[in-house]
Amino acid sequence: MKRPTAVVGVGQTQHAARRADLSIPGLIREAVDRALLDAGLGHDDIDAIVIGKAPDMLEGIAQPEQFLVGALGGHMKPVIRVHTAGSVGASTAIAAMTHVASGLYDRILTVAFEKQSEGNAMWALSPNMPFTPPLVAGAGGFFAPYCRAYIQKTGCPPHIGPVTAANARANGARNPYAHLREPMSVEDVMNSPVLWDPIRYGETCPSSDGAIALVIANEETAKKGPRKPAWIKGAASYAEAMWVPGRDQVSPSAGKICAKHVYEQAGIQDPWNDIQTAEIYVPFAWFEAMWLENLGFCDEGEGWKIIDRGEQKFGAHLPINPSGGVLCSNPIGASGMLRLGEAALQVMGRAGEHQVDGVRNALGHAYGGGAQYFAMWVVGTEL
């Protein structure tokens, strides 16, 4: 019953620490206008809007999609607002795809944004949980123990984080939309201060203003469009409970279950060889090795070895985050959709300077909560 779906338009903003030149509606419009132009469609062609962003505390506006209806072109249309923590950009795009796959809608505009310069991310990301001592340490303080546990469990050597961070910057330098484009050597990262042991300043994502919009359409629209579409071959969003005794927080089962489901849909039997590039959600450098394992690109404990061998670099076997990833641009609510949109650009062959050669299948991935929410898709050149 599920209908084929494809990404037919991609538009993103220039990401920066502070887009003082734009209001929030302006930021939305920069992405939306580019996506519609890219798809060769106008607002009249769009049936519904699916928008996502991370906690509303980041900008200090409750359910901001309500005041953004005009900027989204959503007047008198269905508008759906998604929020699944850090994974939200990805789960939003997948919710948009679901609208098309259902047969109820033909063309959906999906948008994700964050304008972090409007607020204070450290405060907004430090939840005060009942019966839990407040860390007031933001996402870095929350995830540092996850990284330490990974290092302890796998014997991952201390240079892996810095190597990952330096590679992300080398990639980001090829991406004109990236927030951080200045190259950074492994030594530079090593010499940067430790913020939350083992996470150094240089291994940490920035706080960005940015937005991305995608147009997701049915088969007929995709085949008629001005450009080669990115066919969505498999997609899913999963979440698991936090307080489960024995839950593996380093390699959560939700991530494995989600990846397995997506690979099955997409006909991916051997991710390492069937997928040519992956955009995965790495807010702190150590997570790259962790997710390589969780996503089934290698066995448990082997993720850091891929990085040690340099097989994740641009031009190597499986380029990871050729856009520079979250470590170069992190408008939180948009970061997940940027991963999925960049994966789409790779299969469309339109990633510009950071285009990977010979991409047939690309993975886009995001996670959120206490590594509880996972959303990902595999896009391909063929239906």
């Binding site: 506006i61 249309k77 923590a85 679901t98 969003s237 489960v244 509880q372």
Partner: protein, 373 residues
Amino acid sequence: MSTLRNVAFVGFAQLPVVARDEHRMATEMLYPVVVDALRQVGASRDDIDYQVSASTDYMDGRPFGFVAALDVMGSWPARQDLHLEMDGSFAAYYAWVKIQTGEVDTAIVCTHGKTSEGEPERVFNLQLEPYYHAPIGIGPTASAALQASAYMARTGTTDADLAARAARNRAAGVGNSDNQVRDAASAQQLQGSPWAIEPLRSGYVPPIGETATCLVMAAEGKAEKLCDRPVWIQGVDHRAELQTLGSRDLTRSAGTALAAKKALAMANVGSARDVDLVELLSVTPVEELILLDALGLDAAASTPVVNPSGGPLCAHPIMSTGSIRLGEAFRQLSGRAGDRGVAGAKRAIAHGAQGHCLQQNIVWVLGTEKRWA
């Protein structure tokens, strides 16, 4: 409209709405509701394919409030999931869309929200456009009062008319044990209540209350096994409008009118007059009149029955109020409404809304019969 999957509501659970549940967190309130809903349909959590939750961080007073709901929704092992920062009626809509893909057959739709931990008037001021609008300081009651003034000026509706309309809801709500306000009040009493914000009196606005809810949905084939009398979705549509209060006619609900037109067409129902009851997410008597007008209904007519539950004037747990409209329609059409049951009810409209002055509206047409062969 092509043929869709027949999908039904097969279970609904909520806690009685109270002003403040002193001893429980939001998740502690949600857990027994999920258990109750699953018990109603005789299913374990493993039998349910999909889950959607609905809440808003600003009412939880912290970021990621919904993450904790995962634990009490039985999210182990990992479940296919989505969270919407929207009223539960919209979350149910997304579950219906997901079921239409054929990838899943069953879903639970959960809502939570502890309104007592904040001040809704201040919190929902922050929904407004942040540069010029929110700084004025108006909350949802103030914007509803502007809407009421405009409506009364356009239509000649009087204070006494509003009192009569509110009194009808209050009378209907007496027998509903889930309501926060269960004492009837005469129109005269309500017209004597002090101004909330003129022209709205305290008797014309909802009490602030809290609850948690869980709806269970299932596609044809499963629905009949989970419920003796499934309540089928025959049509549904939702629409957003511009927020700016000056950019739309607040005395009319164009979004509701369009959503109703689309939902009735999907249901192959000629007119809203052809349904037996209507549950409206109207937070003032003025909104009730605006919505009836948008649905093409005569406010003076005795059918369809409007808000047999007592409506939001008797209980308005923000984020859950739309789910409760669906829940009431389910109870009415499945013979679970007890003494307040509308005799012989076969079809209902359940409306949901969110945002200032009915900014976003959803219209469901539900019935005892399947829509598609």
